[in-house]
Symmetry: C2
Subunit: 204 residues, 2 copies
DNA sequence: TGTACATCAGTGAACGCGCGTTCACTGATGTAC
DNA sequence: TGTACATCAGTGAACGCGCGTTCACTGATGTAC
């Protein structure tokens, strides 16, 4: 095995382990020492692959985004009413973060980034990119369903993501009272309330 | 001035200062040393008034809850459509946490409480109490407006709070793209989608 | 194919720092007579 | 009213700990001839 391959392997293992430890302990409580140990290397190996804790987190975030991409692709091709698709989207969100731990880690990172300009800008850029991407998907779906949103698609997807995140976070402290069904119903209500049928006469 | 009065004064000053420092720095980055210094006392004074950082936070949280009570009381007495009231509620939420810092502090505390059972239960209890209280208000308002929610009121208020929190958090990292209007529109859409007119024949 | 040197991923120890919490103490306030 | 003692809010220093980051080093891999 070549040196580059070994390094890539270490990097991958660190990414996967970091994901697990972050979910287990949270952004602040997860230590680079703990991550390295769990990955079978030393802290130095982390710094050989990532510039800082923040950079490691960003890499984990990117991996997660990439991992979820096929799901969005599949969702885009499913047919059904806009509400059906909204419900499916909510169920996916719960399935991808069943106990709200990822949402919590993400918000912890946002909080840590308040005093770290480059980190904050990196997080903001990723959020914007994700919203822009989801926005185009939603646009396409809306057209197919014969409905429209009286707001820019990016705003809609941003608000959707934010609301779902809030619901997932609520599950973190009181899972018993925030069932997956409640998340689905709440999100479906939002979409029902937002959407309106395309008026025939309209050009747009 | 009696000794008890002095102590109460110190406690109040610590609470107020803690609120400011928590908002300024976040839950993790805010230090008891920093709070004490800003309040003009030493760390020991904090421990003379509060058992731990977690207890200090809970006291700040309670003070905030108490402070917001009159606002809810006023809101309850305003007349208008359910959507008008929803919009006002969203505006109040933004006014009470313009940049999402409080929402962030709260979620940071939730994250810190994951490994601290008593703290977690205390936070959960307060969230439940708040939702129960808001739930009865909403129930009353809904009846006056001639509408009903096809879900238990506590679930509705929990979902509302969670969604608003998510929207406020989004403002923390990208204030420019999450205007107060967007928060209002998103929340109004949720309420529109959730509510239905009371059917005349129904007993309930 | 073999040799001599260069590279560099990962090691292991140290650094600098600051956190939350504890505790012996102090001196102003409170209490009992 | 005055005195002697008790209380205790707040002080200041220390404790124990673990964090993120740095860095001189190592030894296996890569390269040049």
């Amino acid at each position: 095995m070549t040196r580059d391959e070994r390094k890539a392997r270490t990097r991958e293992r660190l990414l996967e382990t970091a994901r697990e430890v972050l979910l287990e302990r949270g952004y602040n409580a997860a230590t680079l020492d703990g991550i390295a140990l769990a990955a079978g290397v030393t802290k130095g190996a982390v710094y050989s692959n990532f510039a800082s804790k923040a950079e490691l987190f960003l890499a984990v975030l990117d991996a997660r985004t990439e991992w979820r991409a096929p799901q969005f692709e599949r969702a885009r091709q499913v047919s059904g009413t806009i509400e059906d698709l909204a419900r499916q989207h909510a169920r996916n969100a719960v399935a991808d973060d069943p106990d709200g731990r990822w949402a919590s880690v993400l918000v912890e990172a946002w909080a840590a980034a308040v005093d770290d300009e480059p980190f904050r800008l990196a997080l903001r850029a990723r959020t914007r990119a994700a919203n822009a991407s989801v926005g185009t998907h939603v646009q396409e779906i809306a057209e197919r369903c014969g409905v429209e949103f009286p707001h820019p698609m990016e705003s809609v997807s941003q608000a959707s993501g934010a609301m779902l995140r809030g619901l997932l976070l609520q599950r973190l402290i009181d899972p018993d009272r925030v069932s997956a069904e409640l998340v689905e119903e709440a999100f479906a209500a939002f979409v029902r309330g937002m959407v309106r049928p395309v008026s025939e006469g309209e050009t747009r």
